[in-house]
C-alpha cells in the first residue's frame, strides 16, 4: 500500500480517513472516540497486555485490542456495541480481582485511570471470594513511593525504563499471577527522569513520595508555569492548595518537553519552603543584623549608591542568570543609566578573554523538536543527561532512530544510548581542534591565516577524528556544546573551534548556557550595543569595590566561589538581594533585602531556542511581600530615575530576540592569547541537584544518590 493513500475506517457508524499503518486506538483518539486503555501510552511502545481496549471489528470472531490492531481499508469498528462492552467489562472484572480496595488512602484516588474506568465498566459486586494477592514493596528511593499490591501489570513503567530512560531499572519478575514489578537488585531509581513513572502509572502503585498522603487531587488548583532549573524552559503545572505548592506535574508541550519533566523540575520546588528563607529586610549594625522595614533598607541602598556615585567610587553588580528577563532588564538599565559598567550574570562561564559581541550569546539555531530528526550529533564538553535531561532525551530519540552520536568530554560520561566515537581524554580540547583540522582537510576550505597557523601547531588528526569530522559534514548534523565546556578555563578556545567547525561543516549548533535565562540577561546588551566597555564576572571579581550588589544567587552558584568570597570580604559595603540566608551573607553582608524565588514571581524567560515564555505565580505568593519587580522599581524611585514600563521592556525583549535570531554569523576568530598547544586539564564536577539555591535546599532531591554525592 502506498504511503500517501488514505484509507477509510468506519467507527461507530461514522466514516473516518486513516493513515495506513496507524493503530486503531490512534485513530479513535484523533477522532475523539474514547476507547478505555491502561497499557497503551502514546510515547511508549505497544504492549497490548491489559486488554482493556477491546473493540468489536466486523468480520472478526473475537473482539480485538484497539491499541495493537492496525487499521485497514473498509474496516468497520464498533466501540460501544454489546460485544465490545462485554469484553471490556470482563477485562475490568479480571483486573479488579486482585486490586485492593484502598482508594480512600490512595493518593491516585481522584485521578486514577482504573478508578475512572471502574465507574463505567466495573460491576458493583465482586464474584471473587478467595483471598486477594499481596505483593512486596521495593524501596525506590526518596522520590517514588511504591504500593505494588495496586499494580495492574500494565508494564508502562518497565517500558519507560527501557525506552525512555534507556536503563532498565524496573523489570517484570515471575509469571502469571506471581508476576511482579521490581527493581532487579532493589537499587533505587536514580535516573534523572525517573519521576515520570509517577505520571505513567495508571494506578497508585508508583506515586510521588514527598507528596504522599498530604492532599487529595480535587483540593488542588493548578497554575501553568516554566521550570527554572535549566535552559530548556520545561513547561510545568504547579499544583497548589492554600497558597502552598503541593506538587508539580508536567505540562504537555510537544515542542519542548513532550510529556516528560526532569526530577529536579518536579521536586525542586521544595527548596522554597526551606527554613533559611529571609522574610524581612536586614541591616547590619555592630556586626549584628537588625530587622527593618523594606523601604528603610531600600533607602539605605539608594544612599550607598548615591554616595559611591558622587565620590566616583566603584560599584559592581552581579545577578543570577536564572532571574526573569524583566528583573535582569531593569537591573541592567539601572546600571546603564548610572554609568555602572561592572555588571554581569555569567557566574559559571570559565573564560572571558576576547569575550565577543553578546549577539553570540549561547543558544541553538534549530528547535528542540528538530533535534529528534538529526542524523549526526557531536556532544562536546557535556554531561548532557545531567545538564539538560530533556535535551538528552531528544538526542536519545534521534539515536534510537539510527543517528550517530559522538562525544568529546574531559571524562567519559554515562549515556543511555550508543556512542559511536568517544574521544573523551584528558586532552579533550586538543581533540576538538583535531576534529576541526580533519574537517578542514576534508572540505578543503580556505581559512584565515591565524586559524591555519594555530591548527598547524596541532598534531595530525587520527582516523577517529576523521570519522567524526566526516559525520559532521553530512546533512542533518548537530553540535552540542555543553556546560562542562562552558565552565572550562579554555572556554573561548573551545567555542572558537566549535563555531569554526560548525561553519566549515555547515552543521547546526546548540550551545547550552547556565541557569534558566542567560539569554534574557544578554538581551539588554544586545539591543544597546553597550557591551564593549562592560566588565565581566572575572574582571569584577579581580578588583576591589566600594559597593558590591549581589542579586538572586549565593556563592555556591558560581564556579568562582573563593574569588567571590574574597571580593565580598574586601567590598566596603555588600548589599544582597536574596531569598535565602547563608553563612557568607551572615558574615559579610551589610544589607539583606528579601526577594521572591522563581516560584513566587511573575515574568518571562527565554529558553535556549529563543522561545520567550511567560509565567505567573501571583497566586502562590504567600505574604504581602513585594514582588521582585516592585523592589527594583523602588530603587529607581529612590534614585529619582525613570524606569521602563513592563510593556516597553517586553518590546525590547522581542527586538533583542530578533537580533539574536537573525544574526547567522559565527565566531571566526581563534582567541589570540591561547595560540599555544592546549594542555591537559581536569574537569569541573557538575552536580545536577546543586546548581541553584532552590535545588540545593530541596529535601527530596538532596536525599537522592546524586544529592548525597555532592559533598
Amino acid at each position: 500500500m502506498s504511503d500517501n493513500k488514505k484509507i477509510i475506517v468506519t467507527i461507530d457508524g461514522i466514516e473516518h480517513e486513516a493513515q495506513p499503518g496507524q493503530m486503531l486506538i490512534e485513530l479513535t483518539d484523533q477522532t475523539g472516540t474514547y476507547v478505555p486503555r491502561f497499557c497503551y501510552h502514546e510515547k511508549l511502545s505497544i504492549a497490548a497486555n491489559c486488554r482493556m481496549c477491546l473493540v468489536e471489528v466486523e468480520n472478526s470472531n473475537n473482539a480485538l485490542p484497539a491499541c495493537a490492531t492496525p487499521v485497514s481499508d473498509g474496516m468497520v469498528v464498533k466501540t460501544k456495541s454489546k460485544s465490545a462492552k462485554t469484553a471490556q467489562e470482563s477485562t475490568m472484572e479480571f483486573l479488579l480481582i486482585n486490586h485492593p480496595l484502598d482508594c480512600p488512602i490512595c493518593d491516585q484516588g481522584g485521578e486514577c485511570e482504573l478508578q475512572d474506568l471502574a465507574y463505567t465498566y466495573g460491576k458493583n459486586q465482586s464474584r471473587f471470594d478467595i483471598q486477594k494477592q499481596t505483593k512486596k514493596n521495593d524501596d525506590l528511593g526518596p522520590l517514588v513511593s511504591t504500593d505494588m499490591t495496586r499494580c495492574i501489570m500494565c508494564t508502562r513503567c518497565v517500558r519507560f525504563g527501557t525506552e525512555i530512560a534507556g536503563i532498565q531499572e524496573l523489570g517484570t519478575i515471575g509469571r502469571g499471577e506471581d508476576s511482579n514489578i521490581s527493581t532487579y537488585v532493589s537499587q533505587t531509581v536514580d535516573h534523572e527522569l525517573s519521576g515520570n513513572i509517577i505520571d505513567l502509572c495508571p494506578v497508585g502503585a508508583l506515586n510521588n513520595k514527598p507528596y504522599r498522603y498530604t492532599d487529595r487531587t480535587w483540593e488542588l488548583d493548578q497554575v501553568e508555569s516554566i521550570s527554572p532549573h535549566d535552559c530548556i524552559g520545561t513547561n510545568i503545572m504547579v499544583h497548589k492548595k492554600d497558597d502552598i505548592i503541593r506538587r508539580i506535574v508536567p505540562k504537555n508541550n510537544p515542542d519542548i518537553n513532550e510529556t516528560w519533566i526532569a526530577d529536579r523540575d518536579r521536586f525542586g520546588f521544595d527548596g522554597i519552603y526551606s527554613e533559611d528563607r529571609v522574610s524581612n529586610a536586614l541591616i547590619k549594625s555592630n556586626n549584628d543584623f537588625g530587622e527593618s522595614k523594606l523601604s528603610n533598607a531600600i533607602d539605605q541602598v539608594v544612599e550607598h549608591i548615591r554616595s559611591c556615585k558622587n565620590e566616583n567610587r566603584s560599584i559592581a553588580v552581579l545577578f543570577s542568570p536564572s532571574s526573569s528577563t524583566e528583573e535582569q532588564y531593569l537591573l541592567s538599565d539601572l546600571c546603564h543609566q548610572l554609568g555602572i559598567t561592572a555588571i554581569d550574570s555569567r557566574l559559571r562561564q570559565g573564560e572571558f578573554i576576547n569575550d565577543v559581541d553578546r549577539r553570540f550569546t549561547p543558544h541553538m539555531n534549530i528547535t528542540l523538536s528538530e533535534v529528534d530528526t538529526m542524523k549526526n550529533t557531536l556532544v562536546i564538553g557535556s554531561d548532557l543527561r545531567k545538564e539538560t535531561p530533556i535535551l538528552a532525551h531528544r538526542v536519545k530519540k534521534s539515536a534510537d532512530s539510527g543517528a550517530l552520536i559522538h562525544s568529546i568530554n574531559a571524562h567519559p560520561s554515562e549515556y543511555h544510548f550508543q556512542i559511536d566515537q568517544d574521544l573523551s581524554t584528558d586532552n579533550w580540547v586538543n581533540n576538538i581542534g583535531l576534529v576541526l583540522k580533519a574537517a578542514i582537510n576534508l572540505t578543503k576550505n580556505h581559512l584565515p591565516n591565524n586559524i591555519a597557523d594555530h591548527l598547524d601547531l596541532l598534531d595530525e588528526p587520527t582516523a577517529e577524528h576523521e570519522k567524526v569530522a566526516a559525520s559532521m559534514c553530512q546533512d542533518n548534523s548537530l553540535i552540542i556544546l555543553g556546560l562542562n565546556a562552558y565552565s572550562n578555563h579554555k572556554y573561548q578556545l573551545i567555542r572558537s573551534y566549535v563555531h569554526i567547525l560548525a561553519s566549515v561543516c555547515k552543521t547546526n549548533l546548540c550551545e547550552l548556557s547556565e541557569g534558566s535565562n542567560t539569554i534574557g540577561a544578554s538581551i539588554y546588551h544586545t539591543i544597546n550595543d553597550g557591551a564593549e566597555n562592560i566588565q565581566n564576572t572575572s574582571e569584577i571579581l579581580q578588583s576591589k569595590h566600594d559597593l558590591l550588589i549581589m542579586y538572586g544567587f549565593e556563592p555556591n552558584d558560581t564556579i568562582y566561589k573563593n574569588e567571590l568570597i574574597e571580593c565580598m570580604k574586601s567590598a566596603n559595603s555588600l548589599v544582597v538581594f536574596t531569598p535565602y540566608m547563608n553563612e557568607h551573607f551572615q558574615q559579610y553582608a551589610d544589607i539583606v533585602i528579601p526577594i521572591n524565588t522563581h516560584y513566587e514571581s511573575d515574568g518571562s524567560m527565554i529558553n535556549l531556542e529563543l522561545r520567550n515564555q511567560t509565567f505567573t505565580h501571583n497566586q502562590i505568593i504567600n505574604s504581602d511581600q513585594f514582588s521582585n519587580v516592585e523592589v527594583l522599581m523602588s530603587l529607581y524611585q529612590g534614585m529619582d530615575m525613570q524606569s521602563k514600563s513592563i510593556d516597553e521592556i517586553n518590546e525590547s525583549i522581542q527586538t533583542g530576540i530578533e537580533i539574536i535570531m537573525n544574526s547567522s554569523e559565527r565566531i571566526s576568530l581563534i582567541p589570540e592569547v591561547t595560540q599555544t598547544k592546549p594542555s591537559a586539564e581536569s574537569a569541573i564536577e557538575f552536580n545536577m541537584y546543586n546548581i541553584d539555591n532552590v535545588l540545593r535546599r530541596s529535601k527530596p532531591l538532596q536525599q537522592t544518590k546524586e544529592g548525597i554525592g555532592k559533598k
Binding site: I105, R212, Y213, R216
Partner: protein
Amino acid sequence: MKIIQLIKKLTLIDFIKGFIVTLKAFFRRKVTVQYPEVKTPLSPRFRGKLALMRYDNGEERCIACKLCSAVCPAQAITIESEERSDGSRRTVKFDIDAFKCIYCGFCEEACPVDSIVETNIFEYHMTENQQRIQTKEMLLATGDQYRDQTIENKKKDSRYR
C-alpha cells in the same frame, strides 16, 4: 349570596364551630411535653453533634480520605493529613465548624470507615465564637463519651441500610 352571609354573621355559626374544635381538644390526650424537664424520644437516626469514632483497640478510625470534606455541602470540614511514623495515613488537623454544619449527615454517609458519625446530642452550647471550631481532639472526645449510645443507635438503624 348576601343573605346567606348575613344569616351566618347573625347566628355566629363560625364562631361556635371554632369553639367546638377547642372543646374537643380539651379532652384529648396531651402531645406536647414540658421541655427540658420532660424529653421526647429520639429516633436512632437523629442527626446531632458530630463525633469521630475509634476502633475497639483505641485506634482512631479516620484514615484522612477527605471524602467527608469533599461531600460536605456547607464546607464545614477542614482536614490536613500526613503519613504517620508507622506509615499509615492520618489527619493532623480535623476541624468542623459547628456554625457552618447543617447536620445533613452526608459526611457520615461518605465515610468509608464509619469514622465520622452524628450522635444524638443536640443540646450543647458554647460561650465564645472560637469554640464553634470542633477540633480533632474534641470530636474524638465526643466519640468516646457517647460511644455506647451511638453504637447502639447505629445498630438499630443498620437493618434499614
